[in-house]
Symmetry: C2
Subunit: 472 residues, 2 copies
């Protein structure tokens, strides 16, 4: 603790846990991206709102940048600390604070893991319906910071739709209790909404009031094999009209190849180009069989299986949810893009041509949430290629993809956030006037520019720490 700034922090907040071991700096200084070398000043692990507030005031006085930190499962570098920042980990603030039955609200600290929230909701006979594969390690605070989406958006919407209240420590050190769980509140700008998706650039979310809802009826899980991408949108629209869908996820043969290579059992004897995992209310099992029959007849699907047990359902889901892990060793360059659902076929056709032309020697793995207009495009690094060269090459093609997204009114980030990774492409999704407004808003919340500098966009006050280079 030789740094005088840290000594001062310890003097101000004697009970605050701080870590400065190099293993800790490395562990807490990065997220699931691997492009930057972690180099934080230290890690603070506050256990109360007062400690968070004290940290922010200290940071303002000392001009130290802060990086709010949840489960660090982010894929855009939003939680990277590589320039001498203090990482503020919420991992000790991970408790349920209360449950309001009439309101169906669960109040939690922001460091709570998503899966723990799921369990707490079930304990009250209700569900918190936002869900995705990183549920065991990601935190609610991080979910809020990126307005996380996931696999149930087609039915339940994004994180935003389930946040009834937030407690925020702003970049100025003010504690705001935003919306306080009200259903109706027309009393000026809804700052809660502004904080959701702000990637920690306006302040640190310390508590949240989560809306819960009734569990759906028992569900069924079905895997479909499709002959073409063109069939995909039609299958989606037909199933949506007949079944109550809670998920509709697609992936390609290449994705299945990697999951199978990673240990999963192949679902069919034959190979097909496209697959869909879909989950829907199981209250009329005949409807699913009937729907499958008409899809088969129309040649929109070529094979399929309906899970007959929980274990089989889990196995089918693993084919989709295991993709990210199966790809990890190939250091994939990840694109997470969205367009309006109706714009998907044309955007996709264009993108397939673009990537085929620009990436002739790279393997590209597609999957995503087709019912939300959200595609994940993973480009795998050839083993022989240097990572820096690979990232550079992918960046060049991403610029072309961003141009195509702009033409189709899409977004360069559907659910991962902008962070550091997508920052060069923000202008494809948000106009210069919008970015100028965001800059003005950031200034109001964080005049000294201490909150997660250089993430999302460069603010005027971001001079507190130097800009990020790609150093790993």
């Amino acid at each position: 603790m030789s740094d005088p700034r840290l000594a001062e922090l310890s003097r101000l907040l004697p009970a605050l846990a701080l870590k400065t071991e190099s293993a800790d700096l490395a562990f807490y200084g990065r997220d699931w991206t691997r492009r930057w070398t972690p180099a934080p000043l230290a890690i603070a692990l506050p256990s109360s709102i007062e400690e968070v507030q004290g940290i922010v005031r200290w940071a303002n006085a000392q001009r130290v940048a802060l990086v709010p930190s949840g489960g660090r499962t982010g894929l855009s570098g939003g939680a990277v600390a590589a320039n001498g920042e203090l990482v503020v980990s919420l991992e000790r603030m991970n408790r349920v604070l209360g449950f309001h039955s009439a309101d169906r609200l669960l109040t939690v600290q922001a460091g709570m893991a998503l899966e723990a929230v799921h369990q707490a909701a079930l304990g009250h006979g209700l569900i918190y319906p936002v869900d995705f594969a990183s549920r065991g390690s990601c935190s609610i605070g991080g979910n809020i910071a990126t307005n996380a989406g996931g696999i149930r958006v087609v039915r339940y919407g994004n994180t935003r739709d389930w946040i009834a209240g937030l407690t925020l420590v702003t970049g100025s050190g003010d504690v705001l209790e935003l919306n306080r769980g009200l259903v109706k509140n027309s009393s000026g700008y809804d700052l809660r909404q502004l904080v959701i998706g702000a990637e920690g650039t306006l302040g640190i979310v310390v508590e949240a009031q989560l809306r819960l809802t009734d569990p759906p009826p028992a569900s069924q899980v079905m895997l479909l094999a499709l002959p073409s991408f063109e069939a995909l949108m039609q299958v989606f629209e037909r199933l949506r009209a007949r079944l109550t869908l809670s998920a509709f996820e697609f992936f390609t043969d290449r994705a299945l190849h990697h999951v199978a290579a990673h240990g999963a059992q192949r679902p069919f004897a034959e190979d097909y180009p496209y697959y869909v995992v879909t989950e829907f209310d199981g209250d009329s099992p005949d409807a699913a069989l009937e729907a499958f029959g008409t899809l088969l007849e129309a040649e929109l699907v070529v094979d399929g299986v309906i899970a007959q047990s929980q274990a089989q359902a889990a196995a089918l889901w693993h084919l989709r949810e295991g993709i990210t892990e199966a790809l990890a060793r190939h250091l994939p360059y990840k694109n997470d893009v969205s367009v309006r659902i109706g714009a998907m076929p044309r955007f996709l056709a264009e993108t397939q041509v673009l990537l085929g032309r620009e990436y002739p020697h790279f393997e590209v793995v597609w999957f995503g949430h087709i019912g939300d207009g959200n595609l994940h495009i993973n480009v795998l690094k050839p083993e022989a290629m240097e990572n820096a060269d690979f990232v550079h090459e992918c960046g060049r093609v991403t610029a072309l993809l961003a141009q195509s997204l702009q033409n189709h009114g899409g977004s360069i980030s559907a659910e991962h956030g902008i962070g550091l990774v997508k920052k060069p492409y923000l202008s494809s999704t948000r106009s210069a006037a919008e970015v100028a407004l965001m800059r003005g808003i950031r200034r109001a919340f964080d005049p000294a520019g201490i909150m997660n500098p250089h993430k999302l966009f460069d603010a005027d006050a971001d001079a507190v720490v130097p800009a990020y280079g790609e150093t790993a």
Copy 2:
């Protein structure tokens, strides 16, 4: 058109319709509040985004304040123009611009009436589910400006939940296309959300992309008579657990008295202290009868009727929806407050004591959306009392009510907005730090302070027009 500023506006936008007749100034210069004397400079009726943009640029150059204007059905004075402002009426921008089937999105101009949106949605076999009594005259732009709620919130949420995209002309004259109908878009601050509920202080909403959904199954409407307010929350929780509610509205015997005096037929031979109109999916008619039976047995309801026809359902709904009109001739002072649903019983008990003590000679009529924690408290003006004295006296008591709301974590405006009427009480709902942030945000969108000045809160730049006195 003797005013040189208007002459310049006509020169810049020769096709722009302008009205300056005194009857027009009076008509367009006020909303459903009657506390301010209309005195706008003129009325502009643009027919395109370009004209709206031209008006905003002119207003910046000439330092003329603008008041965006929809159906002017607001109850908080948000659309009042009493200080020489230019009213910008969107009434000529009232068309459907497109429908995207795969996305279930209806794109409309902001001046379209809510009821016309309902009709347009039905034309595609879908519904736009936000609804309230002023549907025939209120506009979508106004709904967005106040994040309007209404009678279906318990099932479908507020206006916010149905806005997939917005086109805004900011106070600086920039045209922003916010979110463009995307389901998932994690690319920085969601400015769309900031504009919803901003009461025209950040810019003028000119177009919106509205989400549509499937029509619910055929519904049933039931009227219940309750012995006490204590029973109300229990009836709500029990019915919510057994039926799929789309509305749960309550009103008192005094409310029924006024609607009956205004021509409605009384539903029961006897008088009861509290009534509930509830609507729910009619797919299991026995469930409703069964639920009613158990409520009767538990003495939570004392009488009830289930509509047997569309006409009877409409008659039951009229008992609730006719209240505002029936009260209008009594020049009611309106409170529109909310608390968490679970906080309702204690807040209500306290409020009943407060109003009984402070308003011994005033008639107080209660109704509201109990499932949303939203109460409408209407105080009727005694005939012999001067309106100014009445408003002054009501203001004194509203300050006490605001204090009670603050203690219970509630809001001084659930769905009407702050406008001019609730501005003195904003601090009961939003902290000084929040208001300071709102001021900073307003500055970013509207540096010259031309957008609906003095509404919601006083901005630094609001010197463009003088502050509002209560002049009518």
